[in-house]
Symmetry: C3
Subunit: 216 residues, 3 copies
Amino acid sequence: MTAVVVVLDWFGIIVFAVTGALVASRKQMDIFGFMLLAAVTGVGGGTVRDLLLGVAPVFWVSEPRYLGLSLVVAVLVFFTAHIPESRYRLLLWLDAVGLSFFCVVGAERGLEAGISPLIAVVMGVVTATFGGIIRDILGGESPLILRREIYVTAALAGAGTFVAADAAGLPEPLPLLLGFALCLLVRGLALAFHWSLPPYRPRPGRDPDELRRLGL
Amino acid sequence: MTAVVVVLDWFGIIVFAVTGALVASRKQMDIFGFMLLAAVTGVGGGTVRDLLLGVAPVFWVSEPRYLGLSLVVAVLVFFTAHIPESRYRLLLWLDAVGLSFFCVVGAERGLEAGISPLIAVVMGVVTATFGGIIRDILGGESPLILRREIYVTAALAGAGTFVAADAAGLPEPLPLLLGFALCLLVRGLALAFHWSLPPYRPRPGRDPDELRRLGL
Amino acid sequence: MTAVVVVLDWFGIIVFAVTGALVASRKQMDIFGFMLLAAVTGVGGGTVRDLLLGVAPVFWVSEPRYLGLSLVVAVLVFFTAHIPESRYRLLLWLDAVGLSFFCVVGAERGLEAGISPLIAVVMGVVTATFGGIIRDILGGESPLILRREIYVTAALAGAGTFVAADAAGLPEPLPLLLGFALCLLVRGLALAFHWSLPPYRPRPGRDPDELRRLGL
């Protein structure tokens, strides 16, 4: 089990770093721009989580291999970006696996820190999505959360399932597996069928003058 | 007095969360986009303050009701956004009350942490305004600070008055009340009369070639 | 030596704060907009470094003169922005000195905190460049890292040289001087000759259908 977690951890960082490097390739940055975007995407979500939880220093300062891995990915993608580009749909699916893993790992770190279930779920979502959010802000892309995609939602479903299963007392690897599976299922269905949640649709409000007449 | 502070605390979070959710409605996000923007706007300023002061974990991790409140607001606004939209001017005034409260509370947290008066004032301004700044960045809006409005200025006036009154030795609730009142007055006058501070106006600089000839 | 470091420290903050205030002048902000941008640019890089390293509170909370200096610079530039504007190239060179100093100081703070050499180099780059990155995001400018300039690269060269020279056991001021000199040299050559690194150039990827046929 531990070996599986370690492999998924590395896998998640690598996939996220690739998506960061691909934004750099789209903006035709130089190799250090690739490194910066790969690094913030790979370790950004876990960094924000550690800052909020008060884990000091953040995880990649004490375990430099996470950051090193992101930087190696950046260099590789700089010379081979046409490969992940031409397999963009494959990349989206790998990214879904990374998302599913990080949302349960982030929530687990929260529970370990002894925080309430609601906040543990939030930490899962933050870990899984804030790397991509920072990537889009730094790279000048239309932010992830503005695109009408089931992405944050999938992370929420996974983290919520994990925390609920843990609270229900299910034995050790089961909550992780259930949370991982549900996030992957939700994100996968969204990818396969181009699902999205209903957006807010404006309705005509009452006329402000009318409201004033009504004394509101 | 304590009850008043608690009520204002909740009130401030609610109003700020509503402004976050309204950005989400303007961008036609789904319900989880509403939650994300409502949450960062409601608790973002206090979060940045706690990170800078080294308060770990940040306040809403140990007191989840603050974040929970923002999320409830997000859901309510998702289904009723036409109401705050049609009463936008009322919302601006409620936001002014939240701003006035948070600038003094933030400065007080700074003084409690034993920092210098200048930094306490800065913490008040950060608490009151950074939620809105993060909201605008994540929501892809023209940033708060680029609009020519007396907003940061009002928070500065309120936090400065509070810290000065406290340093002058005024008895307990008086510094809070004075700071709150001055911020509300400044922001209210700005809202009522569309005030703004004089912006920087470019003057033609000296010609670079001329400067070079002068040896500068 | 210590006096030189103190002078360079102040110098770096001043120059960075001026570049922040100049973005505010370009956006025709009011005086408090100048203060906000000057402050985040002057102390932003060191703030992010301290947060990541777990130094709490961040440096300018315990030593308010750094923030105070940024605010004074903001006020001065508000009334005299035509001077730095008309001497923009001079400012770029002064900024290069600030960059060179901050990249070695940031890396040194990392080594003092007992972290690994790779992370110390990263801390140098973060200290030198994140103030400018936050400035561009808040000011709504095209981000520093999207412009094709040797800027992050120069900071990396300087921080890397410092850490390598320190690891090689060179006596005290030498690693600092070497790192400072190399960053200044790289950035200076880039400024003088309009150098930039080769950007990523897209090559036509294989056709996705072909890949599918190949079973990839």
